[in-house]
């Protein structure tokens, strides 16, 4: 039994008029058991809910399309986070979610990799470490970019771009710990609070004033959930667009490719950053830039958010990343560019599954910049 009265009241769910705009825009509606409108209805009628059929709660990708579309200004995606939180306190959560949360607690990253290996991606690169040097910018790497062999190339590309532009930046090295974005979205409020406290202590001790993040997930959490008013937080596409504007970076090599940009939900829908990634891509000489039909506010979710990197979901239909790749194939796209480690990984899987591996490349914008330098 979950008592959701406090939660529904706090989130003002009684203002819901059951218009269904949320569920109509939800990427999981129809392909999983998740029906956000119905959940709201059930909880406002009877807040003491059995929620026996809780599995669909773990289908939510926390994309926040529901929140963006709600005419009453409600935040249905936060209701899901709150309900997950209630499940977390009962201890009965999917095993893979449990393991990733325990790994965040124990190792500071959701994959349970060793802390000591966190700066392995820097091998052969000269990058300042804020534990013994000072720098204007903290480059916040992200667990995925630090450990995942595919995403490590994004971190290496960004370090190269920062160096090329003469940016004064440093990293936290093995002291960097998970930002807690997905921890919060999975409902582990207590752990998130602890992460924020530890990270803020570290940022303050290192004199951090300006953070540039690889991942929209870290960016979103650091910017919106850390109450760190004194720190400027940017996603790297914002920072790099500024470098291009200021003439600190020039893209000269021709990249004779057809490129379409996939908007990450945490960057676009949740933080209104749609233009900077496009500006960067259009600044690359030779690129034939195309837009997906489903773009910007209507961008198709890759299903990597909300903890879904560690949750299979009840998911019966086709993975949305596969739909995305098929759309790109129809458009004749050579490269799907994105700006998020999770999108990169889910799309890359999808390219393999759909058999377009030879035809379509999945690239992070940072990698394309490096090719054009």
């Amino acid at each position: 039994m979950i008592q959701a009265k406090e939660l529904t009241e706090k989130l003002e769910m009684f203002a819901c008029m059951q218009c269904g705009k949320c569920s109509a825009g939800c990427p999981e509606s129809g392909k999983s058991g998740l029906n956000i409108r119905r959940i709201i209805r059930e909880l406002t009628v009877s807040p003491l809910c059995e929620l026996k059929q809780t599995d669909p709660l773990w289908d939510c990708t926390s994309c926040s399309a529901c929140t963006l579309r709600c005419p009453r200004g409600l935040q249905p995606h936060e209701l899901i986070i709150g309900l997950r939180g209630a499940l977390i306190e009962t201890g009965e959560i999917p095993v893979t979610a449990r393991d990733s949360l325990e790994a965040v607690f124990k190792h500071g990253n959701p994959w349970g990799r060793a802390k000591q290996k966190r700066e392995e991606w820097t091998e052969g690169l000269a990058i300042k470490n804020l534990s013994d040097s000072q720098a204007e910018i903290l480059y916040y790497v992200c667990c995925a970019a630090a450990y995942d062999p595919r995403v490590q190339n994004v971190a290496r590309s960004l370090a190269g771009i920062f160096n090329e532009s003469g940016s004064d930046f440093g990293i936290l090295g093995i002291e960097e710990s998970c930002c807690g974005s997905e921890t919060r979205r999975m409902g582990e409020a207590g752990l998130f609070e602890m992460i924020v406290e530890d990270n803020m202590k570290l940022f303050n001790s290192r004199g951090v004033k300006h953070i540039v993040a690889t991942s929209p997930h870290c960016f979103d959490a650091l910017k919106n959930k850390y109450n760190a008013e004194a720190i400027t937080v940017q996603h790297y596409t914002q920072y790099v667009a500024g470098l291009l504007d200021g003439g600190k970076l020039s893209l000269t090599k021709n990249l004779d490719k057809i490129v379409a940009y996939h908007d990450p939900c945490y960057l676009g829908k949740q933080n209104d950053i749609y233009d900077e990634p496009r500006e960067i891509l259009k600044a690359i000489p030779g690129i034939n830039y195309l837009e997906f039909d489903r773009r910007r506010e209507k961008s198709l979710c890759c299903e990597g958010g909300g903890g879904r990197m560690w949750l299979e979901g009840t998911n019966t239909g086709e993975r949305l990343a596969e739909t995305r790749v098929k759309d790109a194939a129809e458009m004749g796209v050579d490269i799907i560019a994105t700006a998020c480690p999770f999108c990169l990984l889910t799309l890359e899987d999808a390219v393999k599954i759909t058999g377009f591996e030879e035809k379509i490349l999945i690239k992070d914008i940072s990698e394309l910049i490096v090719e054009a330098l």
């Binding site: 306190e89 201890g91 124990k106 349970g112 990799r113 060793a114 000591q116 409020a189 207590g190 602890m194």
Partner: protein, 260 residues
């Protein structure tokens, strides 16, 4: 049913650069956790309590850092926790640890005592069995399923080659729990915080029934040498086209006596 469950706090050496000084591993900088098998034992104890009623008491040996393992037991649903702690315990082997734990267990009312089947650090897999012998309790090891029935316990044991064995034991009894017997619940940070106000009873060597001449540095076994085995270079990356790789791989399997 009153259940006692023994837990141990262990370092996680996964991917770690192990530093050995003398006969000890330098654990500084290593993350610690509750021994994996003990998590299953605690979960099983709490599930039995939830089903049959009674109490769960968690016991550990160690200094105050081991309180974490007990708090997690509380957060899972344990009712009481005991930490036996004394400098004289240092250097205890599996049997000496069993003597210490048996000393603490014998003073607490119990129908069932659960241990993890082994600990991930020392890996003896002997403490539970030794404790059963000392306490004079019937025991079963590597238990993967448990049912209580009329003052008896029916335990399914995991044998080799995928075989299982069902044994029946009169209570009180001692069981060592194999991983996979259940899915341990998630222990939230909020849950641990709530548990931190619960009392942990700390007992020294003088407060339990144990012969100090048989434990710690007087243990039966002594570590003579601790070392990392030499690394054998056996990894080979095959390159070439898929066909070439397949031919090379087939040759290697043949040469090394693989199945063909």
């Amino acid at each position: 049913m009153d259940i006692i469950v023994c837990v141990k706090r262990v370092p996680d050496t996964n991917e770690a650069d192990i530093q050995i000084s003398g006969n000890f591993i330098n654990t500084k900088g290593l993350p610690f956790d509750v021994n994996e098998w003990d998590k299953y034992a605690v979960e099983e104890a709490v599930r039995l309590k939830e089903k049959y009623g009674g109490t769960v008491t968690a016991i550990t040996i160690g200094d105050s850092e081991s309180d974490d393992a007990l708090r997690r037991a509380f957060a899972t649903g344990a009712d009481a926790a005991v930490r036996v702690s004394d400098d004289i315990f240092n250097g205890s082997d599996a049997v000496a640890s069993a003597k210490i734990l048996a000393g603490a267990i014998s003073d607490i009312k119990h129908d069932l005592v659960l241990f993890g089947a082994q600990a991930s650090d020392d890996g003896y897999g002997a403490t539970g069995q030794a404790a059963a012998a000392i306490l004079g309790l019937p025991y079963a090891s590597l238990v993967i399923k448990l049912e209580a029935d009329n003052g008896k316990i029916r335990a399914t044991r995991e044998l080799e080659a995928g075989m299982n064995e069902v044994v029946e034991l009169p209570l009180p009894a001692l069981l060592t729990i194999q991983s996979g017997i259940n899915e341990p619940r998630y222990i939230s940070i909020m849950g641990i915080r709530k548990a931190s106000s619960k009392e942990i009873k700390v007992l020294s060597a003088g407060e339990i029934s144990v012969n100090t001449a048989e434990i710690g540095n007087n243990s039966g076994t002594k570590t003579e040498k601790l070392f990392l085995p030499p690394v054998l270079k056996q990894t080979e990356f095959l390159t070439g086209s898929v066909d070439e790789i397949a031919v090379k791989l087939a040759q290697i399997l043949k040469d090394k006596g693989g199945t063909f």
